[in-house]
């Protein structure tokens, strides 16, 4: 068949004369007044049979049709006669050029709506077409009704284009994308020629959002439709500048926000960021091994409650994990992330609460490297798409929950998370291995915080009454303990372990936790560490932990030597810490997260982070004050920078006075409600960006970007978190700042009723 049939040359070929009296418009002519009649269509298909049929059908619709059986000729035709066509219908499989390639080129060069066609009507094929940006995807045999709707695509595309131009300066990217997505999702092949199919496609697209979504809102049904702030590099820089300007000590979310002058930045987002960051910090505290678990669960649960979307949690976890991996690959330090992260277990924990948690506290503390926090936050808040427990989220929630007691009391921003850090800082710095120089470097900064944090943490004690308060009290105790230890120049690791011990956060305490924290930790920790933790916490919950530890032992491959080294010191610590804690009874709530394999986390992100489905946080058991032997985990991890095999980047930047991510600086000192920060959607995006930004920092400006993320195998969220925690830890953020952060986070959790089970941040230490 001829490659092309020109409508302008009426011939005897069938279909060239409508017979309806409609004048045959030349190809170059404008469409007649009767819309959509006269729509100029170019059909490309190597199947001559279909080509002929389509041509006839389109002519029946009173469109102007030009057919072409070769893609290259079609392309040249389009190029020669720009503006002569309104829509292109192309087959997917063509010998000389892939239909999607043609789609791409047409979209780029001529910006015409392209409708794909194929005999392959399988969902995967259709999805592919939609993803490539096809306006529609027709399944052969093409029906007349579908062709009659072709004009809709033209109109829609034109209108959206003009609307895009109008909204070019808007933040509502998500809305626009949504619109465009709607368009592209319109797949008449999915319906009987009606417009209903696009909804199906949209839902499908939303539900299986495999691509990196910029906006979490799409996936968070419960998320408010407020404009989301995308945490771009610019924003991050603004944040950093703002924090610098305000001064770390005074960096509060409100202030930062003012300085940043970010329109549309929601407190919630920042809260989320803070939460995530704080959580990450807590996690990174060696002592937090147990608590991290609980935190994780609590946060996840809280998050889920907030967002009502488990997917978000999973996505958050996933991204957080990716982020951690990225960090780990960059950093030299091996902060042993508590195995808390490993516990993906009941992935269904709520992730929502995380959002509003620690970030505020983290921001408040201001000591946490903004990038880290931001990254954490971003990670955590990104859409969780996997069914992975949202450990990161849980943690903050847990922290808060624990700190708050039964209630999910969001920690005040300046508080909560600081505790664990606090503990760690004093002791750890000493023993920080050379690789953790950064930590040492940070100590000065930390010490400045300690006082602050003490106060903050103290406030948490009030909440000890609640069941989760145990956690809080633990946290508090830890804080106190830390204070005591402040000048204790133990090894860094020991610090961690201390905190771990003290924390004894029982996963059960966490709201989320239906899973035993021990399980969480177990997975993550390297073998030796876990076991240690087991030993440490003989309490009832220890059962769980034991289980976890064993798991961890098996799963962890982190540096045992370093871990063991770490373990030892912490063991010494716990007694003292325990004593403190016991008073508060926090311990009971937490059961030492079994060997939060910080080590596992650090060394091989993949190793420890196995989602530990078996991890069940025995919510009940934990009540007995089990002093955290847990902490050991963390400390061990941390001590062995080696453990974290490079998972945590050299957090040296932390000590450089980098500003805390503005996210943290959000003025949301008030208790972040669960729904606030848990926009899993927005934060996740931010997290990704933050992560990237962090990477930049870490890598001396090297843009890691998505490539790095892609390199990271998707592992447990816990792993991710633990890595991140280690990272943070090693970045010497620990110290007073952390405490403040944790405290605040916990307060945030307090405010969020859902975060009742948040492990006290202090427990981490």
């Amino acid at each position: 068949m001829a490659a092309m049939q020109k409508l302008a040359a009426p011939n005897a070929s069938a279909g060239s004369n409508y017979g309806s009296g409609l004048a045959i418009v030349t190809v170059a002519g404008a469409a007649p007044e009767q819309f959509p009649a006269g729509l100029r269509v170019l059909v490309v298909d190597d199947d001559v049979t279909c080509l002929k049929i389509l041509e006839h059908m389109l002519r029946k619709c009173r469109y102007h049709v030009i057919t072409c059986s070769q893609a290259m000729i079609a392309l040249s035709l389009l190029r020669e006669r720009k503006g002569c066509f309104d829509v292109v219908i192309s087959d997917v499989h063509m010998p000389d050029m892939d239909g999607f390639k043609l789609l791409e080129l047409v979209g780029l060069e001529m910006d015409l709506p392209v409708i794909m066609m194929s005999a392959d009507g399988r969902t995967s094929a259709v999805m592919r077409g939609i993803k490539h940006g096809a306006c529609d995807y027709l399944i052969k045999p093409v029906r007349m009704e579908e062709l009659k709707n072709v004009w809709q695509h033209v109109v829609r595309k034109k209108w959206n284009e003009s609307k895009d131009i109008e909204n070019s300066g808007s933040f509502e990217d998500s809305d626009r994308q949504g619109q465009v997505a709607d368009e592209s999702e319109y797949a008449s092949s999915m319906n009987e020629g009606t417009d209903a199919s696009w909804k199906t496609q949209k839902k499908k697209r939303d539900s299986k959002d495999e691509e990196d979504d910029v906006e979490l809102d799409n996936e968070d049904p419960s998320a408010s439709k407020k404009p989301r702030v995308v945490w771009s590099v610019e924003l991050h820089q603004q944040f950093v500048n703002a924090v610098n300007q305000v001064g770390i000590d005074k960096a509060v979310p409100k202030r930062i926000l003012e300085l940043m002058n970010v329109p549309g930045a929601r407190d919630q987002q920042l809260q989320e960021l803070e939460l995530v960051a704080a959580w990450a910090i807590v996690c990174s505290c060696k002592s937090c091994s147990l608590q991290l678990q609980e935190l994780r669960f609590a946060v996840a649960e809280g998050f889920r409650e907030l967002t009502g979307n488990l997917e978000s949690c999973c996505e958050f976890e996933r991204k957080f994990r990716l982020y951690l991996k990225r960090i780990s690959s960059v950093t030299q330090h091996q902060a042993a992330l508590p195995s808390l992260f490993c516990n993906q277990v009941e992935a269904k924990t709520k992730c929502g609460s995380l959002g509003s948690l620690d970030f505020h506290s983290l921001a408040a503390s201001g000591q946490i490297p903004p990038q880290t926090l931001a990254a954490l936050h971003a990670e955590l808040l990104c859409h969780p798409s996997n069914n992975i427990v949202f450990p990161a989220v849980d943690q903050p929630a847990l922290l808060q929950a624990s700190s708050q007691g039964s209630k999910f009391l969001p920690l005040e921003k300046e508080v909560a998370f600081g505790q664990p850090l606090f503990k760690c800082q004093s002791g750890m710095q000493k023993q920080l291995p050379p690789s953790e120089i950064t930590v040492h470097g940070m100590s000065p900064g930390f010490s400045s915080w300690s006082s602050n944090q003490l106060g903050v943490i103290g406030s948490n004690n009030k909440h000890a009454g609640l069941s989760n308060i145990q956690n809080n009290s633990l946290l508090m105790q830890m804080l106190q303990h830390q204070q005591q230890q402040e000048h204790h120049q133990e090894s860094f690791h020991s610090m961690v372990s201390d905190s771990n011990n003290a924390i004894n956060v029982q996963p059960s305490c966490l709201v989320v936790s239906s899973q035993s924290p021990s399980s969480i930790t177990v997975g993550c920790n390297s073998g030796p560490i876990n076991q240690k933790s087991l030993v440490l916490s003989p309490q009832p919950s220890s059962n769980i932990q034991l289980g976890n530890n064993s798991l961890l032992a098996s799963s962890n491959s982190t540096s045992n030597s370093s871990n063991s080294r770490l373990n030892n010191p912490p063991l010494g610590m716990p007694p003292a810490a325990n004593g403190d804690f016991k008073d508060i009874g926090m311990l009971s709530t937490y059961y030492p997260p079994s060997s939060l394999s910080s080590s596992s986390v650090c060394t091989s992100s993949a190793a420890g982070w196995r989602p530990q489905n078996n991890m069940k946080i025995s919510s009940n058991n934990q009540r007995d004050g089990q002093l955290p032997k847990l902490c050991i985990q963390g400390s061990e991890q941390i001590s062995g920078a080696s453990v974290n095999q490079g998972q945590f980047r050299n957090l040296g930047f932390v000590g450089k006075g980098t500003c805390i991510p503005s996210r943290f600086a959000v003025d949301d000192l008030e208790s972040p409600t669960n729904d606030k920060g848990f926009t899993k959607t927005s934060t996740f995006d931010d997290v990704d960006k933050v992560k990237q930004e962090l990477n930049l920092d870490f890598l001396d400006g090297t843009k890691v970007g998505n490539a790095m993320l892609a390199n990271f195998p998707s592992t447990d969220f816990l792993e991710f978190l633990s890595n991140l925690a280690r990272f943070i830890f090693s970045s010497s953020l620990y110290g007073a700042n952390m405490e403040i952060i944790i405290d605040s986070q916990m307060k945030m959790f307090q405010d969020q009723s859902k975060m009742s089970q948040i492990v006290d941040a202090g427990d981490f230490y």
Binding site: T49, C50, H56, K60, A119
Partner: protein, 151 residues
């Protein structure tokens, strides 16, 4: 007599069409194809069917060539041909041929050579059946047309 026979031929055609529909050899798209035919394109259906037969035979030949090679490894190419055949068959309403192609495609995706051979046999059989029936249909149609014109 020719004039009187037109009705009979029409009956025959209807009966044949009904049979083909009942067997699933043809579906409603064939009717849609017939509806596309009008005064401006009086031979539309026959033209399209002729094109279809020509193209399909080419495709079937290619597939057979690929499969008969014992070291057949290019299942992807077979898949491409099948996809093409599926598209054209479904466009003209050759439902049964299309369904056989779907099964054939499954076998090719699993790189199941024996399965592909079996599917090819079925495909060729169904294709021949379709071709014969359509020829028959056209013969009746042409005779009917002649009868109508002559009457």
């Amino acid at each position: 007599m020719l004039g009187m026979g037109a009705g009979r031929w029409e009956e025959d055609m209807s009966r044949l069409l009904a049979l083909l529909f009942h067997q699933g050899v043809l579906d409603e798209h064939f009717m849609q194809l017939q509806q596309l035919q009008d005064e401006s394109s009086p031979n539309f259906v026959s033209e399209v069917i002729s094109i279809y037969f020509r193209e399909s035979e080419k495709l079937l030949r290619n597939i057979r060539t690929l499969l008969l090679d014992r070291e057949c490894t290019d299942y992807k190419k077979i898949g491409v041909y099948l996809n093409h055949l599926m598209g054209s068959s479904s466009s003209i309403g050759a439902n049964l041929v299309r369904n056989v192609c779907v099964a054939f495609r499954a076998a090719s995706e699993h790189c199941n050579w024996a399965g592909c051979l079996r599917s090819l046999a079925v495909l060729e059989h169904e294709y021949c059946y379709l071709k014969n029936k359509l020829h028959e249909l056209f013969q009746v149609y042409y005779i009917q047309t002649i009868c109508m014109h002559s009457s």
